[in-house]
Every structure is written in structure tokens, then in C-alpha cells.
Symmetry: C2
Subunit: 203 residues, 2 copies
DNA sequence: GTCTATAGCCAGATAGAC
DNA sequence: GTCTATCTGGCTATAGAC
């Protein structure tokens, strides 16, 4: 169906697989549907990726490798906590608005299969929280921030940025809002979220 | 296997179905596994619930009817916004700690099947946000709260309360924390979350 | 009400022609 | 590399004995 066909079959397959896996999950996805979307035959999926499991892992790993680097905005640069939070919430929400299925997909599959979690943990450049925690403590000592545990602050930043996308159907119901109103609300959050956090933690 | 057997077969089935559906989702769940867990035969599932779909709906509806009333703490009682938030975050987090799979289950299935969302929307006593929004505006006018949109505040309260459970595998990786440490962190959030919010919005 | 056995279908995977 | 045809297994659901 929706082909970006450069007769680049392997790429077409991966693109279609992303679309299907990310919206239906591993268990709900059908190889036939992926093949249809790529405009090719089911046998080709196995020719290029051997099995459903391996095709799925290609999609999952790519998705994770897109999301993870975004975290370095908050973990690995040298600005103040306030600036980090402003930059992160804004850029992360922008990013997710372009890929709204990614967070639920990752979380759902991590819940489904703890093996993925183990694999990620043993990973090379998995984001490290230590620097962030130290910086938070330092800024508290300096009187820049009110006392707060670095872990909780980090969780709060993620929660406020990501949750509205994971829970989008629920939020649309609560707010009785159209798709358009929902999107506007998410746009607003690019600054609303950091304002909300900064107000809470700034001394 | 794990039976609470009073030879109450229908109840046993529902309990086992909750366990399996909530951890594996509709697509990943197997009728055989539910039967095994209930210590009965597969045919009995169909005898009592006719089909997988209907059994699933029984589980989903029960789960939702457990979660929704908790929202009335924040939407339908008469205390101040500050008290509502304190009560809600504490009681909701306590509740979810006892049923950690519920939120991801509901969100996953709402994402998978928009029909459920539609059904809920048309529902009788679905929580209504209007009262909360009006109260927020009133307290802002009175100078009790700093300016904030009621919708965003509501989303923030939900996000901070629920997200850590939906994202538990991810959070455990980030924090390199054991199950025990994770649980302690969630316990702490019963008060940490409301403190965090109140600091941000109180004038 | 509860069981065994099986029908019927569907999905993942492979064989083999082109 | 790409296709059609087919194998094989697993899953929901039902028939029918007890």
C-alpha cells in the first residue's frame, strides 16, 4: 500500500514493520500485514529477516536507539539543572509528537518481556544517572534548588513529558477533546511542563 | 495451579483471567494458560464466558470500574485543591501498588482498540472534569494558587502518580535499583508527589 | 458442570520454480 | 531476489460422553 519504493526492499520492510509493530505490538502484529504494507510477499520478510522475532528486534532496537540519545540532553551536558529541564522537556515533547507510538511501544514491550530490560541494562552506552544526581545535590547545597531527591526529580521530568502520550486515549476522553485540541495541549506542554517543574524546585 | 478454590468455578476463571490478561494483554494471553491457572479445563472457559473476547471484556470492565472511582477523590469531593491533590496522590499510589499491572493494562488495551475508548466515553458515570477546572480557576482568582490551566494540572497529577508504574521496567534500569529499592521509592512518592505539585502551584 | 477429543482456522515458516 | 504453494503447529471453539 503506502510504499516509499526505491526498490529498496529491505528498507521498505523495516519501515512497514515499524508501522505495524509499533501500533499493534509483537503479539498483535501479523507478518501478512507487514508484507501487504510493504507491497511485497510474505516470504520476503523471512528472506531478509529470518523470523518474526528477529524482525521485531530490529524494530525495537532502532526505536530504542532513537529515544535514548534524547536523554543525554538532561544527563550529559554541562548547563544548569534549570536549563537542562527546559531543553529536555521542550525537545523531548517535540520529538515524541513526531513519533507518538514510540513510548507506548517501548514500555509495552519492556513490560511484556523482561529479557529486553536485562539486555538494555548490560548495554554499552546506556544513559547514566549519577552525574545528574550529583549536580542536583550540588545545586541544593548552593541554595539554587530546594531539597529534592535526584531520582524523584528525574522520574517526575520523564513522567510529565512522556505520560500524556502513553495515555493519549484516556486523556482525550477526560478532556472530551478533539485530536486538534489534544495536539494544541501537547504543544503548550513544551513550555508548561518546564515552568511547572521549575516553580516547584527553584529556591 | 494457584487456586482459591471454593468450587466457585466462575470466580476462579475470572481471577485467573485477570492475572493472565493483565500481564500479557489480549493478544498475548492464551485460553489454555488461563484454564491451567484456574485448575480447570479449557472447555469450561467457553461454558462460562462463551468466547475469549467476552472473557476479556469482563476483565477489562472490572479493571476499569476499580480504577475510575478512585478519580472521584480529586474530582467530586468538596475540599480545597491542595487537599484533593494530597489525598489523591497518596491513595492512588497506594492503590496501584496493590495492583501494579492495572494501569499499563488499561492503557495498552485502550491504545490497541479505540472502540473501548468510544464505549467509555458514552458511559454513564464517567468522571467529569468541569468541577475541578472551575475550582482551580476560583482558587487562582482568590490568590490561593498561581495561574495554571486546570487541564494541565490534572494531566500532571495523573502523570506523576501513574507513570512510574507504567514505566517500572525502564525506571528500574535507570536507577539500577532492586525490586525493594523501587518499592521504597514508590512509597516515598505517596508524599513526595503532592509536595512537588503543591510547591509548584501554591501562591 | 466437567471432562476428552477434535474440528477448523490461521499464522509463521519453508520449498522450489522462475 | 521475488514469487506461489504448501507444510506444520498452535489456538479458539465446539461436539458429545459422563
Amino acid at each position: 500500500m503506502a510504499k516509499t519504493k526505491d526498490s529498496n526492499t529491505e528498507g521498505n520492510i523495516l519501515a512497514s514493520a515499524e508501522n505495524i509493530f509499533q501500533s499493534k505490538g509483537m503479539d498483535g502484529a501479523r507478518m501478512q500485514e507487514i508484507a501487504d504494507k510493504a507491497g511485497i510477499n510474505k516470504a520476503m520478510l523471512h528472506y531478509y529477516y529470518r523470523s518474526k522475532q528477529l524482525l521485531f528486534e530490529a524494530v525495537f532496537n532502532k526505536a530504542f536507539s532513537l529515544l535514548a540519545p534524547q536523554l543525554n540532553v538532561i544527563l550529559n551536558d554541562d548547563s544548569t539543572i534549570e536549563d537542562k529541564i527546559k531543553n529536555f522537556t521542550s525537545s523531548y515533547i517535540s520529538f515524541i509528537m513526531k513519533h507518538p507510538y514510540l513510548p507506548s511501544f517501548i514500555l509495552q514491550e519492556l513490560n511484556r518481556n523482561p529479557k529486553f530490560a536485562k539486555k538494555l541494562q548490560e548495554n554499552q552506552n546506556f544513559p547514566n544517572l549519577e552525574k545528574f544526581k550529583n549536580q542536583v545535590n550540588l545545586e541544593i547545597e548552593k541554595g539554587i534548588l530546594k531539597p529534592i531527591k535526584g531520582e524523584q526529580l528525574f522520574i517526575n521530568v520523564l513522567a510529565l513529558s512522556i505520560f500524556p502520550f502513553v495515555a493519549s486515549p484516556l486523556i482525550k476522553i477526560f478532556l472530551k477533546s478533539s485530536e486538534k485540541e489534544y495536539k494544541q495541549l501537547m504543544k503548550d506542554r513544551k513550555t508548561d511542563v518546564s515552568d511547572f517543574i521549575i516553580k516547584s524546585i527553584k529556591a
